[in-house]
């Protein structure tokens, strides 16, 4: 029978829509529960409307069980939004029960039950919850007078919100808004959003406009009295405003300590949760490339304008061109930021994988450990997040294998039997700092020195290095006294360091014996745009990533000494090797000037000074990696186009430090 099939299709469609509505309602409720009672009226209102439309849908498909439940739920929400029922624990629990009851009905429907019946217990619970538990709203203490034409069209809900605003001592503004026919809907939406941010949009009403080209609206807005009404009007795009409340000389109530849960906030959370589109990294990559090209074209235009404009006599034409350029410049910069943002993901994506690895590794080692993540919302380039997974798993494994003691040993040392590993991520300027800290046995520097000598990493007669822990990053080093199953894999911390170095990052270790070990991993937020220090060496431009620069020095000759035929410069009391960058790269050197310009590069605990001819400045550069098939000194990693059209070569500080140290050894 075709009618039956039709009905089945309708029911299926209903289930799909109901699931969407219920899922959103679920999120809204969760957010409300988090926030407490101070919920923006818009949130309650749209919650109410979503259940109202669910009821309507159920009615159309002919599902009395759903209609009945939604009806009682709607009554509860209406009571809350109208202020008759408080948003207390009782109503929140009833709302939760209603949502799970509705989900249950939808579930039974999709399982084949053609008309699932409502749960009578739930219905009576909802009824009980929606009985007014607060006095009916009295007439507002602050009488707010509306123009009579408006008063007539005001709904009960709008009247209630108006009175609530009056009672709170809020200001109430009536603002005419004129929008061109074309795109008025967008303008109106924008104004409504703005109004919701500063306060509450009580209602929108048609206005009167003389011009046929314009649509006119009246916005009725309530807002805390501390906000300048002119500012509210400006943000909503209204040219004027009328204040309807009687401004009271009474002290203004303090703004709520906690931000209201607003629609905008909810929307943000919703978008973070569901409003995502999957895009391949390629597409984003080409978007970034094109953005980069666009900014280079912008730079070329700037240069052309600088040449051409002085020759133009018409001053206003010159200004117009400058203005147009400034607008373009702003848009290009904003586009660059937006394009970059598409590639950023929260560190969480990475750490949830780590959490699973931690559990698996701990179980394999017979250890107990909890893994905690702080700052998981910190954003990082997706490409870097992926590239960081292996090094971080390695550090985690290291912590579990060598750091965290077996439960018995921990108990004996007065520690809880389960170890604790904390990963903290935080943005610091253009970098993300990720620390991985365990509360294990720590590292004894003497044992490291002994192991390094035994393994020939440190010559037997060599003096102790200043920082013995750095030795763990040397190839061939492993701190395991007994080679465990995991550390037998042959990948050492040297690989971790070189992997992180390849991302223009660094890793350092600190440890307190008996208390734990900590790794600090610092990587740029993105590799696409690198803040760089532009220098000249051998008459050419080179770019250092600023992340690898400790400082720049202008040293008088006397600050440079020669020790065993090598030049060193004193940098904050410490002598660092000084190498002319030109010589290192095999370029012609200039005789040293009286005042020498030195870039001190830093990587982990290593430092070296590179003498340059000139420092040209700090720039954000779009860096393109150079293929391995292009021969060059290996310290050169890529190219960057400069605003003047020249090409700078980008340098890898880690490889330069290797070279400088090799030259000094």
């Amino acid at each position: 029978m075709s009618g039956g099939r039709e009905d089945a299709r309708h029911r299926r469609e209903f289930v799909t829509e109901a699931e969407v509505i219920l899922e959103q309602a679920q999120e809204t409720l969760a957010s409300i529960e988090e926030t407490g009672e101070d919920v923006h009226p818009d949130v309650l209102n749209s919650f109410f409307r979503s259940i109202h439309s669910l009821k309507g849908l159920a009615g159309m498909v002919g599902l009395p069980g759903v209609t009945e439940t939604a009806h009682e739920f709607e009554a509860l929400l209406d009571g809350i939004r109208m202020g008759r029922v408080p948003l207390d624990a009782q109503s929140r629990e009833a709302a939760r029960a209603a949502l799970s009851g509705l989900s249950d009905l939808a579930g039974r429907l999709s399982a084949g039950d053609q008309s699932p019946a409502a749960d009578p217990e739930l219905l009576s619970r909802l009824r009980a919850a929606s009985t007014p538990r607060r006095e009916e709203p009295k007439q507002a203490e602050v009488e707010i007078h509306l123009p009579p034409a408006l008063e007539r069209v005001l709904t009960d809900y709008e009247r209630h919100r108006l009175d609530t605003n009056g009672k709170k001592g809020n200001q109430v503004l009536l603002m005419p808004l004129e929008l061109s026919l074309e795109g008025f809907d967008e303008g109106l939406r924008g104004a409504m959003t703005e109004a919701g941010k500063v306060g509450e949009l009580i209602g929108t009403f048609p206005g009167s406009s003389e011009s046929p080209e314009l649509m006119s609206f009246l916005l009725l807005v309530g807002a805390p009295p501390v906000i300048d009404p002119a500012e509210i009007a400006r943000r909503c795009g209204a040219k004027s405003f009328e204040r309807l409340d009687v401004p009271s000389p009474a002290p203004v109530p303090a703004p709520p300590a906690q931000p209201l849960l607003t629609e905008a906030l909810l929307e943000e959370r919703r978008r973070a949760a569901v409003g995502t589109v999957r895009v391949t990294l390629d597409k984003i990559g080409s978007l970034l490339d094109l953005t980069g090209e666009l900014s280079l074209a912008r730079n070329a235009l700037r240069r052309a304008m600088d040449r051409v404009l002085p020759a133009i006599g018409d001053r206003s034409a010159r200004h117009e061109a400058q203005r147009a350029y400034a607008n373009l410049d702003r848009a290009v910069n904003a586009l660059g930021r937006a394009a970059l943002a598409t590639r950023l993901v929260p560190v969480e994506q990475l750490t949830s994988r780590l959490g699973r690895s931690a559990r698996a590794i701990a179980a394999g080692l017979g250890k107990e450990a909890t893994f905690e993540v702080l700052g998981g919302e910190t954003e990082i380039d997706k490409i870097l997040a992926d590239a960081l997974a292996d090094p971080l798993v390695h550090l985690l494994r290291n912590a579990l294998d060598h750091g965290i003691e077996p439960p018995a040993e921990r108990t004996a040392a007065g520690k809880p039997p389960a170890g604790h590993i904390v990963l903290t991520a935080a943005a610091r300027g253009r970098e993300v700092v990720i620390t991985l800290e365990d509360d294990g046995r720590g590292i004894d520097p003497q044992k490291i020195l002994a192991a390094a000598r035994e393994r020939g990493i440190l010559p037997k007669d060599a003096p102790d290095p200043e920082d013995p822990l750095e030795l763990v990053f040397r190839p061939g080093f492993s701190t395991a006294t007994a080679v465990s199953e995991l550390s037998g894999r042959g990948v050492g911390l040297d690989v971790v360091r070189s992997n992180i170095g390849a991302m223009k990052g660094s890793v350092a270790i600190t440890s307190t014996p008996g208390r734990g070990t900590r790794f600090d991993v610092i990587v740029p937020i993105t590799l696409a745009i690198v803040e760089s220090l532009l220098v000249r060496a051998g008459g050419r431009s080179f770019a250092f990533p600023t992340s690898s620069i400790a400082r720049t020095l202008r040293a008088e000759g006397f600050r440079v000494r020669t020790v065993q035929g090598r030049e060193v410069v004193s940098d904050e009391g410490e002598a660092v090797i000084l190498v002319p960058l030109a010589r290192l790269l095999g370029l012609p050197e200039r005789p040293p000037a009286a005042r020498r310009t030195i870039v001190v590069a830093e990587e982990g605990n290593r430092r070296a000074g590179f003498e340059v001819e000139e420092i040209e400045g700090l720039l954000d550069l779009v860096v393109k990696p150079l293929s391995d098939e292009v021969p060059r000194a290996r310290e050169i990693t890529g190219t960057a186009e400069l605003p003047d059209g020249d090409v700078a070569l980008t340098l890898d500080a880690r490889l330069l430090l290797d070279r400088a140290q090799a030259a000094a050894a």
């Binding site: 790269l585 095999g586 098939e629």
Partner: protein, 137 residues
Amino acid sequence: MSDGGAFLTFRAGGDRFGIPVERVREAARAQRMAPLPGAPEEWTGVAVVRGEPLGVLDVARTMGVARKGPPKAPLLVILEGRPHALLVDQIDGVKGIDADRIAAPPPGVPCLTGVVSSEQPVLQLLDLDALFGRSVR
């Protein structure tokens, strides 16, 4: 020996060379380049074409062809599927060459797949893989 087909022909120093057109992505006016420290001397530097950095190999230098001073208006022949461009002095155009007109390269001259002696001046067909293999160390 080379197969016949369409060849992009160009001048480098006083000599004339050709490469199969399917190996060419595009030709471009040479722009500002950054010389590459540490590269063999036949590499002129790196040019950025449409955002992509390309290593630029000077054909005349690689092939040991004499040139009086630097080329006046050098051009880049950007190759398909490699991060490289050839620096040439002038582009002649595309020429169809039948396989039977191509002779084996004279002994001792590297990096050629063949020569076309019937062309005036003689057209030397470059072996790109050998050219880069010779230079990339």
